[in-house]
């Protein structure tokens, strides 16, 4: 799969269709985002990141390419996209966050393996157009049902127990591909008191959840990066469900 993508990107770079490509790179065993400029560069550690779950090697490619595309002045730029990355990119376009640079982005999509899709309960583990990989079935999730079966006090206790582990690292917000506000409510002292650990709960997390309404693309990055393992996505999933289905 990785070779197919590499060949495709090399062709795009050699033909001059794109002048840069945002992919991932294996740097001494650590996977990091990297902007490739020539096809020769791709021979040095090109990676597509996580393939089977476990090692958290995914990045918010959509927000990275948004930053690059708006400042890049050298023609078109390609980007490596999974199904979730594509949903995020579409969401950023929908919110008009990439107004002038939208047509400068060339998508290079690939389908995730079944193992990874299952690990993240992915609702669409492939972008619309795939260069490589086989499209696998969407995975439904059971996490919501379990919570819905509790009574209201049980749910409150459950969330408070989860939220109170929060070390307020803002990792969930920082990694979020669709968090793009310049000023963040979570850092506004008059709304949520700053400087407290754990943060003012449940307000801190419920505020973020409400802000995710209609935006969350269910990529699971927030839950994956959370050092306290708070099941944030289960919370945002419900918000999305209410917004979409009432």
């Amino acid at each position: 799969m990785i070779e197919e993508i590499k060949e495709h990107v090399k062709r795009l770079l050699d033909e001059g269709t794109i002048s840069g490509f945002l992919g991932l790179k294996d740097q001494h065993g650590t996977i990091v985002p990297h902007l490739y400029k020539t096809s020769d560069d791709l021979d040095d550690g090109f990676s597509i990141g996580a393939t089977e779950g476990g090692a958290p090697a995914r990045y918010p490619m959509a927000s990275l390419i948004m930053t690059i595309a708006t400042t890049y002045e050298n023609g078109k730029v390609g980007v490596l996209l999974r199904g979730c990355d594509e949903r995020a990119l579409n969401e950023l376009l929908r919110w008009n966050q990439i107004p002038e640079a939208a047509d400068r982005i060339v998508r290079v999509g690939f389908a995730c393996k079944k193992e990874l899709a299952e690990a993240h309960e992915c609702r669409k583990p492939f972008p619309d157009e795939c260069i490589a990989g086989e499209k696998t079935e969407p995975v439904s999730n059971a996490s919501l049902k379990e919570l819905e079966s509790m009574d209201v006090t049980g749910r409150l206790n459950y969330w408070l127990r989860e939220f109170d582990r929060c070390i307020k690292c803002y990792g969930c917000r920082d990694v979020c591909p669709v968090c793009f506000c310049n000023v963040c409510t979570l850092e506004e002292d008059s709304l949520i008191r700053t400087g407290d650990l754990p943060p003012e709960n449940p307000m801190f997390h419920l505020t973020r959840a409400v802000h995710m309404a209609g935006r969350c693309i269910d990529c699971n990055l927030c839950t994956e990066v959370c050092p306290a393992e708070i099941p944030l996505r289960t919370l945002y999933k419900k918000v999305a469900e209410i917004v979409n289905h009432g």
Binding site: E148, L156, W159, P202, L206, L235, I242
Partner: protein, 57 residues
């Protein structure tokens, strides 16, 4: 919003959303009075039971 509160473990009865025109003063007073009564009956919020941190300094 009510569904969300319920999911977060907060009694949805604690939230009221009503449309009142600026010309409907008496209705506004009634809505607020009714809600205050309802909240009194429900008692303190379960979140009040949590220890409140002292202000720093």
């Amino acid at each position: 919003m009510k569904k969300f509160l319920d999911y977060a473990g907060i009694d949805e009865e604690r939230l009221v959303l009503k449309w009142v025109s600026s010309a409907e003063g008496p209705r506004f007073a009634q809505v607020v009075t009714d809600f205050v009564e309802k909240i009194r009956k429900l008692g303190p919020s379960p979140l009040r039971a949590r220890p409140v941190k002292e202000e720093a300094g």
